[in-house]
Point group: C2
C-alpha cells in the first residue's frame, strides 16, 4: 500500500537530487519540515524562487551579483590594472575577506577537467582574453588564483599560455605551508614548494 | 564590500536552518543550484510549496496523508482490532514494507523526552486512549512499536499504563539479535534480551 503521500515523496526526490544528500537525509529533511510550521518551508521555497530570478552574472567578471556590472566592477576605486582569476564566486568571497586585494576579478566558473569533459571552451577563458585585449594595455597583471591541485594548475598553465605574446605580468598565488600548519604533517609537495618559494627574513 | 548577492545569502541562511546542514553545506547547495538550470531550483521550490498545502494528518491515526482518513484507516480490509503505535510516519512505512502487518496504526509524533521538554501531553497519547475507548471494545490488541531505546521504552511503559484497567492486550515488538548480526559484536543488553526472549525451534 502506498502510505507515503505523493507530495512527500516528491520533496524527498527533489532533495535527493542535491549533491551530498542521499535518500535518508532527504527524507529526514522532508519530515523535519513537515513537523515544523509551514512558514519555514514557505521561506525556503521563496528563497529558492528568488535565486535565479534576482541573481545575474556580471558581464565583465562573470561573478554573481544583483546588478550588472557587479559592485566590484562598478567600483571606481578598485585598481583596474589588476585582474584576479578564480574558479568560483565563493573564491571571490574568500579573497575579499583578506581585505588585501583591491583589483578586479574574473570568475572562470570551473576548471579544465578532461575526465569530466570540461574543456577551456566551457570556461570564461575566451572572455578573459577578450576583456584584457579590450582594455588597451590597461591590464598590468593577471593573478591566477585557481586551486592548487591538478586541475587548477593545468588551468593556470593554459591561461598563462594565452598571454605569452603579450607584455602582461602573469602571477600565481604562493604555495607553501598554511598558517598554523605543522611541518611534521605537511605533504612532500607542499613542503617542496615551501622550500623553493622560501623568502628572506 | 558586500560581494555576495542578497538572494544568495538568504538561500544559504534558509538551508542552514535545516537539521544537519551547516553554513558550508548550505553555501555548497546554493552554488550548486546557481550553476544548474533554473528548472531544478523551481522544481524544489514547487515541491516545498506543495508539502504543507497538500499533506494533511489523518484525524484517526495521525499519520500524514493526502486524504483524511488516510488510505490505511480508510481500507475496509485492514484488521480494525489491531493498533500498532509508532513514533513517526517513517515507522509506518518501515512496518508496511514487511507486508506482514494488516492492522491499523497510531502515530505519536515523538516520544516522551523530559530532557527536551517533551511530555505525554505533546504526543498523540490522549488521542490514542480516546480512540480505543470510542471503538467500544473493537480494539483487541495494541502493539507498541516505539524505538528500543530509553525514550522509546519509557513511552511504551507510559502508554501501557493508560490501558492497565482495560482488557486490551498490550504487546511490544520483540527485542533480540538483528538478522545478519554477529553474536560477537552484539551489546550485552541486546544479547540479554535475545536470551530471555528465546523461542523453541
Amino acid at each position: 500500500m502506498q502510505v507515503t503521500p505523493a507530495p512527500v515523496t516528491k520533496l524527498i526526490d527533489e532533495f535527493s537530487r542535491l549533491p551530498g544528500i542521499g535518500p535518508k537525509t532527504a527524507s529526514r529533511l522532508t519530515f523535519y519540515l513537515l513537523r515544523h510550521p509551514a512558514q519555514q518551508t514557505a521561506a525556503l521555497a521563496e528563497a529558492l524562487r528568488e535565486l535565479h530570478q534576482k541573481v545575474v552574472f556580471c558581464t565583465q567578471c562573470f561573478n554573481i551579483a544583483e546588478s550588472d556590472p557587479c559592485p566590484v566592477c562598478g567600483d571606481e576605486h578598485r585598481d583596474r590594472s589588476l585582474i584576479c582569476v578564480v574558479e568560483e564566486p565563493l573564491d571571490v568571497l574568500a579573497i575579499e575577506r583578506t581585505r588585501d586585494y583591491h583589483g578586479l576579478y574574473h570568475v572562470l566558473h570551473g576548471v579544465i577537467a578532461p575526465v569530466e569533459g570540461i574543456g577551456p571552451e566551457d570556461l570564461k577563458i575566451a572572455e578573459l582574453v577578450e576583456r584584457v585585449r579590450a582594455s588597451n594595455d590597461g591590464v598590468r597583471e593577471i593573478i591566477i588564483a585557481t586551486n592548487p591541485n591538478l586541475e587548477g594548475e593545468a588551468t593556470a598553465m593554459y591561461i598563462a599560455r594565452q598571454f605569452q605574446t603579450e607584455s602582461i605580468k602573469i602571477t600565481r598565488l604562493a604555495r607553501g605551508l598554511p598558517m598554523g600548519g605543522d611541518l611534521e604533517y605537511a605533504d612532500e609537495i607542499t613542503l617542496s614548494r615551501a622550500l623553493s618559494g622560501r623568502s628572506e627574513m
